[in-house]
């Protein structure tokens, strides 16, 4: 062995080969370190001894990121904010309120609580035993399966009906230019900061999180449940902000559409969080969301057109400047 390792005894071919490998390794190490040093950026902490916690990290290791803690209003440095013995993340994932102690702290579900997947399974088994699903009679079987499918679709539509979410009565203002601009500005800010920006990456993230329900990894499953439940609460908070705005009569249609979209977002995210126990409802909610992502964007053009028609000042912000520029002749 020692003989082989002695360079002077190595055949020239081996020497050349090792020489080349060493050269590549040196260049590669240099290249990786070079790219790492280019990527590292210094963080300037101005006037703060302790920097603010990173919103994407989980300071108290309870399963909720600091950003999520802000949405749920929980303590980012206390893993069990309500002190009931369950971590905040566990409570959110299982549909419990992390701010309310005790076993009876289930979050209110806006859709129907019927488990559609269980119901379909029961109907299939009953149909099989009652003889309605029978291979020897294809027509009868097909009819029974169609009926079960129809029933599942009907139940999904009922569970995801946006009227399941009750909203406060609309506060109406006047149609004066001042009131309209106040409304447009407030709504414009909510849309730009809280709706449009997160929605850019949401379709990909939703699709990615949904696929995690298919894995056997408990951690990934919990992450997805937390994600969808947190999103639902986030949209609920936005809905509260929007419903609190005084609406000029000439904007009620736009206002109503935004409220309906938000209700749809809430109910779909709540249903998606239950995909593990009710996959049929989850799939229906995903399909709902995909259509919603397509439909939610035209509202931006509608708002800008209405602003132009009513001769109003557009809301502040880069998003609105851009849409005004895109719709200009």
């Amino acid at each position: 062995m020692g003989y082989l390792l002695k360079i002077s005894y190595m055949p020239n071919k081996i020497k050349i080969f090792f020489g080349f490998l060493t050269l590549i390794a040196l260049f590669s190490v240099y290249s990786v370190f070079n790219s790492l040093s280019n990527k590292a950026s210094s963080v300037a902490v101005i006037g703060l001894q302790t920097p603010l916690p990173n919103p994407d990290t989980d300071s108290d290791h309870d399963g909720l990121s600091n950003r999520d803690e802000a949405i749920w209003n929980t303590d980012p440095f206390n893993p069990d904010t309500d002190g009931d013995g369950y971590k905040d993340g566990e409570e959110v994932a299982s549909g419990h309120d992390p701010l309310k102690p005790g076993p009876n702290d289930l979050l209110p579900q806006n859709g129907s609580n019927v488990n559609i997947t269980d119901q379909v399974s029961t109907l299939m088994v009953s149909g099989f035993y009652a003889g309605a699903i029978d291979n020897s009679n294809p027509d009868k079987s097909n009819q029974a399966l169609t009926d079960i499918g129809d029933s599942a679709m009907f139940d999904s539509a009922k569970a995801l009906d946006l009227n399941n979410i009750q909203i406060a009565k609309t506060i109406t203002s006047s149609n004066t230019k001042d009131d309209q601009e106040k409304y447009v500005n407030a709504l414009g800010l909510i849309i730009q900061e809280e709706l449009w920006a997160p929605l850019i990456n949401e379709p990909q993230v939703v699709a990615q999180k949904f696929t995690k329900f298919k894995t056997n990894d408990k951690q990934l499953l919990t992450d997805s449940q937390i994600y969808f439940n947190t999103k639902a609460v986030n949209y609920k908070n936005i809905l509260n902000e929007v419903t609190a705005l005084p609406v000029p009569p000439s904007w009620t249609d736009v206002h109503q559409q935004i409220i309906d979209d938000l209700r749809q977002l809430i109910i779909s995210h709540q249903a998606l969080a239950q995909t593990d126990s009710d996959p049929i409802k989850g799939a229906a909610a995903l399909s709902n969301l995909i259509s919603l992502y397509q439909n939610v964007r035209p509202i931006l053009t509608t708002i800008v057109q209405r602003i132009k028609e009513n001769n109003l000042k557009p809301p502040d912000g880069a998003l609105w400047n851009l849409i005004v520029s895109l719709t200009n002749g």
């Binding site: 590549i24 850019i200 035209p298 851009l322 849409i323």
Partner: protein, 493 residues
């Protein structure tokens, strides 16, 4: 010097005899040529859904070593041929060496396609990286000769002249005269090509603008960057539309797709129509998920008539747009160490199947998306009037090494077909190259900007455009056969 000669002799005598000098030169040359593999480490991490640079390093390392060593084998074979086939008639020797080199280079190009094959891979003589012809891009007559015999013809000439000069120095008497005549003839041919430079009718020229961007590659986009990038593209498109008939975005600009994030579908045609009083053609590139998979799609949009054509990228980039099987194998081996299933890739593309020549009014436009330009055959197929190359170097962080190599290739593609070539780039410089392969205009930096230049369409077809590499390959094969026969006779004697 004596020491170098001594080492060279030692290396030459290593078994298999004559193989190692070519192989070692290949290792050094191709390591340098393919060094840009390492620039893709950040993108590979993103593609695998991690932020681990260590992982990217381990994914790239085996692919890099296998590719460099694999293609260096061909240069090793070549040096073995030089070393072992000396008994051929002197007059044939330079031809034999040149022809053998051309055949091996062509096979090497094929080999890269096989080595980097994957679900989105294309087999064929496409990956011409490292072809020595590209090193001679600035020698005008050589570059222009590509319109007759392509880069392999230039390889032939380079090796022919190189070996003839070497043999001329080594030989004496009659042989020296033969080699002098041969080298003079080769130089005469090069000079002749200078006189055969193409001229072009400038009457039907039109103005084209490139919208150059600098949008980094990201899996998840920060909203403020998304807004800022799109706003700049919008401003540049509006400005370019005022002065040009054709506006070209870079690869993956996603302009028309992103527009739907801000406007309802009914307002989109109005937006394009408002860009100019006259009809202008906007060429955009979108990453679109379709039934067949994720496509890198070039879309031709007439400002008044809407979408008039599209082309899906043919030659996908290994590591950038799909994972070669050898990288998949590495990932399978690495999976247990990184505690995550690395074989679940994000954003793998599917190659297109349609033609890359699109018709617009009276023009036939050859569309090449990024790596398409590396392939002389994909670039020459069909009849066309001018060429457009949309590219995105963000994957490589704008590596100047790959940018320089792609520029040499683009200049050769323009010269081979004698067509203008417009190159619009995301990360990196943009160019307008004329039908002789000269850069007539380029951007001076790599940020967001417009480049406007006149483009002259050309309907004439070159010999290379019609016949491709077939003539030079047949010639090389014939020379190889003849010389080999001669070698066998000489051996018998």
């Amino acid at each position: 010097m004596d020491r170098i000669i001594k080492i060279y002799r030692k290396v030459t005598l290593l078994r298999p005899s004559g193989f190692w000098p070519g192989f070692i030169i290949g290792l050094i040359y191709f390591s340098w040529t393919l060094w840009w593999f390492w620039s893709s480490s950040v993108y590979i991490s993103l593609l695998l859904g991690t932020t681990s640079n260590v992982l990217a390093f381990w994914v790239i390392l085996p692919t890099f070593i296998l590719t460099v060593a694999g293609i260096s084998l061909f240069w090793g074979f070549f040096s073995r041929v030089i070393y072992n086939f000396k008994k051929i008639r002197p007059i044939l020797l330079p031809f034999f060496y040149a022809g053998t080199f051309v055949l091996l280079e062509y096979l090497r190009t094929w080999f890269v396609g096989i080595l980097l094959y994957g679900s989105g891979g294309t087999l064929g003589a496409n990956w011409t990286f490292g072809n020595p012809a590209y090193l001679f891009v600035n020698i005008v007559p050589l570059r222009e000769s590509a319109s007759y015999w392509g880069i392999y013809g230039i390889d032939f000439l380079i090796i022919f002249i190189g070996t003839t000069i070497f043999l001329l120095i080594k030989s004496r008497g009659k042989q020296r005269t033969i080699y002098s005549i041969e080298v003079s003839s080769a130089i005469f041919i090069i000079i002749l090509f200078d006189f055969l430079s193409p001229t072009q009718n400038q009457n039907n020229k039109f103005s084209a603008s490139i919208v150059q961007t600098k949008n980094p590659v990201n899996v998840s986009v920060a909203p403020e960057n998304f807004l800022s990038d799109f706003s700049k593209k919008n401003e540049l498109l509006r400005e370019a539309s005022k002065k040009s008939d054709l506006v070209v975005f870079p690869e993956s600009a996603d302009f028309s797709k992103t527009l739907l994030n801000f406007l309802d579908p009914a307002s989109v045609p109005k937006y394009f129509s408002n860009l100019s009083q006259k009809n202008i053609l906007v060429i955009d590139s979108d990453r679109i998920q379709e039934k067949g998979g994720l496509k890198s799609k070039v879309v031709l949009i007439d400002s008044k008539d809407g979408v008039v054509g599209s082309y899906d990228k043919l030659l996908l980039t290994p590591g950038g747009e799909y994972f070669p099987y050898i990288s998949r194998f590495t990932l399978r081996l690495l999976t247990p160490f990184f505690k995550t299933d690395l074989t679940r890739f994000k954003a793998e593309f599917t190659q297109g199947t349609g033609s890359n020549v699109l018709y617009y009014k009276d023009s036939k436009i050859k569309l090449l998306v990024c790596s398409d330009v590396i392939s002389p055959s994909i670039s020459r197929e069909g009849e066309f009037d001018f060429m457009i190359n949309l590219r995105n170097l963000a994957v490589f962080g704008g590596s100047p090494l790959i940018e320089q190599e792609l520029l040499s290739m683009s200049r050769f593609r323009a010269a081979e077909n004698e067509k203008y070539l417009i190159t619009s780039s995301n990360f990196g410089r943009s160019y307008v190259i004329d039908n002789r392969g000269n850069i007539i205009k380029s951007t001076d930096s790599s940020g967001y900007q417009i480049l406007t230049a006149d483009v002259v369409p050309n309907k004439e077809r070159t010999w290379y455009n019609k016949l491709g590499d077939l003539p030079i390959l047949l010639l090389s094969l014939a020379i190889f056969g003849l010389s080999f026969k001669n070698f066998l006779y000489a051996k018998q004697d």
